[in-house]
Amino acid sequence: MFPTPIERKSRSYQMAYQGLLPMVLIMWLLPLIAVAVFSIRPDADFTNGNYWGIPSSFNFFENYGKVFFESDMPRYLLNSVLITVPTVLGTIALSAMTGFALGIYKFKGNLLIFFMFIAGNFVPFQILMVPVRDLTVNMNLYDTKTGLILFHIAFQTGFCTLFMRNFIRALPFPLIEAARVEGVREWQIFLYVVLPLMKPALAALAVLIFTFIWNDYFWAVVLTQGPDAQPVTAGITAFNSQYRAAYHLMSAGSIVAALPPVLMFFLMQKHFIAGLTLGAVK
């Protein structure tokens, strides 16, 4: 069922593999490389049609300097942080509680509620664009960070609940029964018994949701406008002036915007992979 490990294949097969791998890798990374190289090019390179050649001058400091000191980029980055962090905290807190309720208690409609959380995930979110926009306008939350945070929390909680509920289900139930026998109150069971056991799930989810929300572009464009509330993914287009698109600055801005999730990934790699596979095998 699994492919034969490479070391058990013939020598010629291995050599072909080793030769092709770097080439495919470079092809795969080509768009990213192009953006990285563009971010250190001067603007004139674009007008000269020098897209793939060697940059005519090394403008690393100039371009990135402009991104940090002469644009609204720092503000957009701050917005991203102010949107992402509360969303992560909010979703994790809510879904830990819903997961606990759905995973531990047996009551009528438990399964129905659980299915409704899951069903929410099957609604393509583009369908919700217009109603959600109208809703935020009517609630005076349009173009505010709060609006975006609330919506993200609401929408991410469904997936997180599924995740948390399954994780809690997998915990040994006798632990909870033992606590109950000891006379521990239910909220204390949640706080002192279940929550510490959920740490790996919490960490994994936090990393996952962080990257989801940080990279969100769709809702950022739909629900916010301008540097007061817009996160960095949407703010990158602010480098376009009325007539001209500043591709070199947009590239530099994109690199900067991509750094936090990349850093997050490398620092929390273990949790990230755990997050993707958790619950996949019981």
């Binding site: 004139a44 000269n48 002036s241 009325q242």
Partner: protein
């Protein structure tokens, strides 16, 4: 209750207008607040707007000027909301058809009285663009010319001179193609560049007035005169005058052809000059000429104009009118267009920046645009017609044989859009 308030506001404004007229020479004691909502959100225009607001505030000690700058793109969707609920006193918008919907909805104030003042004779070149139903609905503050930017050095090398007529243009082009180059670069990926070509072909073939009739929907797209425009255009396409695969390039991506000398000219707005200079072309290499004559009609020119308007729901119309007088005045116009904006002043008495292309454009629009000043395809035609239209124009440039199909489709759109 509401109507009472409305009525009292109306009488109030009526009296203030009278009062304003009494001090029409611009030294009225203005008081209260003046709320300006501007879409000049790019760095340089924003600085201009902030300075204007500050200067106006200083000039009128009893008046507080509040400036709100909105993102330029966002403003395009926000304006209707903003005009109808809690309207500011002055807003930014665009001239001609683009202001049509707000004029017909009664959201813009009729300011014909301001235009009737002698000082406004200096703004004659853009008056047409501000006029709907014989009244003026706003003032312009900046515009820029369109025309053909070309490689002067290559023209010299091939022994060509600036063409004045379409025949000369085609003769030039034949020589350029022969030398292995293309006559025009264009990137039609985002469609509007093709709109520029159509504007000029149509204005030169059938005249400015016909072009406007077409824009207003009173002429059929399948009209014989429209076909003539396309057949003139086709002459160039069949010569191989345009760069290949232009439907894959944005307007900026089409610049390298010009810089490398693979194409010799670009029909574009004046904003193309800055990147071409940055790419290393000097003013000796880069020239400008007005789009050549085709039929014997007065030349119409594309010169997109940005404007200021007073919402009809504004509270301080007196101060707003004074602000419009202020931004169009000779001194302010010289200052803002000459420095930060790098465009043309709307006041003919203003001085222009010391720049080859700005001076040429100013001269062209002041003296040689007798037909009229158009605003560009996507501003003159209603939005829905413009987007269908530009798609058709791009298709025509790539597959000229589809013309009948395209025109039938555009005619269908016309019948639906202008009901």
């Amino acid at each position: 209750m509401r109507s009472i308030i409305k009525a009292s506001v109306a009488t109030l404004t009526a009296t203030t207008i009278l009062a304003g007229a009494a001090f029409a020479d611009g030294h009225a004691k203005l008081s209260g607040e003046l709320n300006i909502t501007s879409d000049m959100s790019n760095p340089a225009p924003r600085a201009v707007m902030e300075r204007l607001a500050a200067q106006f505030d200083e000039k009128h000690p009893n008046l507080t000027v509040n400036l709100t700058v909105v993102d330029r793109e966002a403003w395009k969707t926000q304006i209707r909301n903003s005009l109808s609920a809690n309207a500011p006193d002055v807003v930014n918008w665009y001239a001609a058809n683009r202001m049509g919907p707000y004029v017909s909805a009664g959201l813009f104030e009729d300011i014909s009285d301001v235009w009737a003042e002698p000082a406004f004779e200096a703004l004659a070149s853009t008056k047409g663009a501000m006029t709907i139903d014989g009244k003026q609905w706003g003032v312009p503050y900046t515009y820029y010319q369109w025309g053909i930017y070309y490689r002067e050095d290559i023209f010299k090398e091939l022994g060509l001179s600036e063409p004045a007529t379409f025949d000369e243009e085609m003769a030039n082009c034949a020589k350029i193609v022969e030398s292995g180059r293309k006559c025009y670069t264009i990137g039609s990926k985002f469609l509007w560049t093709a709109g520029g070509w159509f504007d000029y072909m149509n204005m030169r073939t059938n005249g400015f007035d016909f072009h406007m009739e077409l824009a207003q929907g009173s002429v059929e797209w399948t009209d014989e005169r429209v076909r003539e425009t396309f057949s003139n255009w086709r002459k160039l396409i069949d010569m191989g005058a345009f760069v290949d695969d232009h439907q894959n390039y944005s307007w900026q991506e089409a610049l390298p052809f010009m810089v490398k000398g693979e194409a010799t000219a670009y029909l574009m707005g004046n904003f193309a000059v800055a990147p071409l200079r940055e790419a290393g072309l000097t003013d000796d290499q880069l020239g400008f000429y007005q789009f050549p004559l085709i039929a014997d009609v007065p030349q119409g020119e594309d010169a997109p104009t940005d404007t200021f308007h007073i919402p009809s729901g504004a509270m301080n119309k007196d101060a707003a009118r004074e602000f419009l007088r202020f931004v169009t005045s000779e001194a302010v116009q010289s200052d803002i267009n000459g420095n930060e904006l790098g465009q043309l002043p709307v006041n003919s008495a203003s001085s222009v920046a010391d720049d080859k292309f700005i001076t040429k454009g100013f001269d062209m629009l002041s003296n040689n645009a007798k037909g009229g000043v158009a605003q560009f395809f996507d501003r003159d035609f209603p939005a829905e017609m413009a987007s269908a239209g530009m798609e058709g124009l791009q298709e025509f440039m790539v597959f000229p044989d589809n013309l009948d199909d395209i025109l039938a489709r555009l005619e269908e759109t016309r019948a639906r859009v202008y009901k």
